[in-house]
């Protein structure tokens, strides 16, 4: 069950190799974070799940069913999709953006809108914002709408394509916290693409670090990767040597204060 990539590869007609021999599976209700620099094939892999990209070799399975055997449009409607910044329909009001997929699958507009307003609340937005057009919201609000829209048809699977990449760090942290909270409640099977290792560690149950050409550098839980980085590339990528990753405790009046590599206190050990 869940999502399984079985030896998938993607070579474009011009000979560009995006992904080679990638295998990985993520159980239901878990989050898989695909992380890597640009050109690492992470987005290509995610897009294979809803057949926005067809692999040239191998298969992708959702709940043991080969996605290639499912009808494209129906498959996509059954999967929640959170695009990068700027993926909302600019000509539709926020409430209609959220109602998009239910309306496509035949729910009446009125029912879909009512549900959409509740979803806005679920992602922490004032339902009154439903009347606005996307351009009238902040970047962070827009991405909340994008998450609400992805959840509208209550899909089992969510695909997230660098969803919080373009918002400022403080808003990004808010959005990530909210997603963690939502996921605890909803338990979706999520494939998240990000170039931010901290985001991958924060949101992913399973993290795949990719290098150029879609080659897996390391797969594991955040703990496993931090505890035993496979090679220098991974060590570099997760920033093992970085000051904020090398923590130690110092005793201050009987309490254990955690300090980073440059001696800056970051917290208290409890």
């Amino acid at each position: 069950m869940g999502i399984e990539f079985r030896d998938v590869g993607k070579t474009y007609p011009d000979g560009t190799v995006a992904v080679t021999g990638f295998s990985c599976s993520i159980p239901s209700h878990r989050t898989l974070a695909l992380v890597g620099t640009s050109g690492s094939g992470k987005t290509t892999l995610m897009r294979m799940v809803n057949r926005m990209v067809e692999p040239t070799t191998g298969t992708v399975l959702i709940d043991d069913r080969d996605v290639h055997e499912l009808e494209k449009v129906a498959l996509r409607r059954s999967i929640g999709y959170v695009p990068q910044a700027g993926g909302l329909l600019p000509h539709r009001r926020v409430v209609d953006n959220v109602a998009t997929v239910p309306v496509l699958t035949g729910t009446t507009r009125r029912a879909a809108r009512t549900a959409a307003l509740q979803l806005l609340e679920l992602v922490g937005l004032d339902p009154a914002l439903g009347k606005r057009y996307p351009a009238q919201l902040s970047g962070g609000q827009q991405q909340r709408v994008a998450v609400a829209r992805a959840l509208a048809a209550d899909p089992n699977v969510l695909l997230m394509d660098e969803p919080f990449g373009a918002v400022d760090p403080i808003v990004r942290r808010d959005l990530q916290d909210q997603l963690v909270q939502l996921q605890a409640e909803l338990g979706k099977t999520i494939v998240l693409v990000t170039h931010d290792i901290d985001e991958a560690f924060k949101l992913g149950d399973q993290v795949v670090i990719l290098r150029t050409g879609g080659i897996v550098a390391q797969t594991g839980t955040p703990q496993e990767i931090l505890a035993a980085p496979a090679d220098d590339f991974v060590r570099d990528f997760v920033g093992i040597g970085r000051a904020e990753r090398s923590l130690q405790t110092v005793d201050v009046d009987g309490r254990n204060i955690v300090v980073d590599g440059s001696g800056r206190p970051v917290g208290v050990l409890t």
Partner: protein, 230 residues
């Protein structure tokens, strides 16, 4: 103005004829240009050829075209249809490139997200591409509307009645007032249709930020702006 007073019925009749020639020609141009623009957008290589031929057609002089069309289509020379077809050729030639640009103006991030959500190919065209192409498309439609309204007058040279008759007749009989009415009438009609298009455009694209300064202001001021558009 005495000439206009005594010939009001005639002028009105010519105005109606003028509209009847211009509006179908514009409508056909828009439809064909959208199809050609879509082809050019979808298949850029074929598009270059299509758009090249289109702009070549625009360079064909009007009078020979008015002779050739009846021969090719087997319709009478003096039929309004001849002029409508000729004007549609010019309109399409002028608009096809803009239509291709209009489809290119649609944000690829929006298209891609829409496709990933499960819009079918036709749904994507009608619900996403076409509405989002409207602003650029409309700018082109405004240009061909004005040019078509003015080009209708040449029909008078081959005996297809329109406000152009006021010009030919006025020149032949040296009635200055008739020429002035013909010129002003044509211009006013062009302006009226242009205003209609601007209004239609505003109704079709309530989502566009018409006052960037206000939209960038605080959230409090953005709410009444939306309600005003609703």
């Amino acid at each position: 103005m005495t000439w206009l007073d005594t010939n009001r019925a005639y002028v009105l009749d010519m105005l109606v004829q003028h509209v009847r020639l211009a509006v179908p020609a514009i409508a056909i141009s828009v439809l064909v240009a959208i199809v050609l623009g879509r082809i050019a957008w979808r298949w850029p290589r074929a598009g270059t050829v299509v758009l090249g031929i289109a702009s070549l057609l625009y360079s064909v002089p009007a009078l020979p075209l008015l002779i050739v069309i009846p021969v090719l289509l087997g319709i009478p020379l003096r039929s309004g249809l001849t002029l409508v077809v000729a004007l549609a050729v010019y309109g399409t030639a002028l608009l096809a490139g803009t239509a291709a640009d209009a489809f290119r103006s649609v944000d690829p991030r929006v298209r891609e997200a829409a496709e990933a959500m499960g819009y079918s190919r036709t749904g994507l065209f009608w619900k996403v591409d076409l509405p989002l192409a409207v602003p650029v498309l409309l700018s082109g439609i405004r240009v061909i509307t004005v040019s078509t309204v003015s080009l209708v007058t040449i029909g008078a040279l081959v005996g297809i009645p329109s406000l152009g008759n006021l010009l030919t007749d006025g020149f032949q009989r040296d009635i200055r007032a008739e020429i002035v009415v013909g010129v002003l009438g044509t211009m006013l009609l062009a302006i009226a249709l242009d205003v209609l298009l601007v209004v239609a455009g505003a109704l079709l694209t309530p989502w566009r930020e018409r006052r960037p300064r206000r939209a960038r202001a605080t959230t409090a001021s953005a709410v009444p702006a939306v309600e005003g558009a609703a």
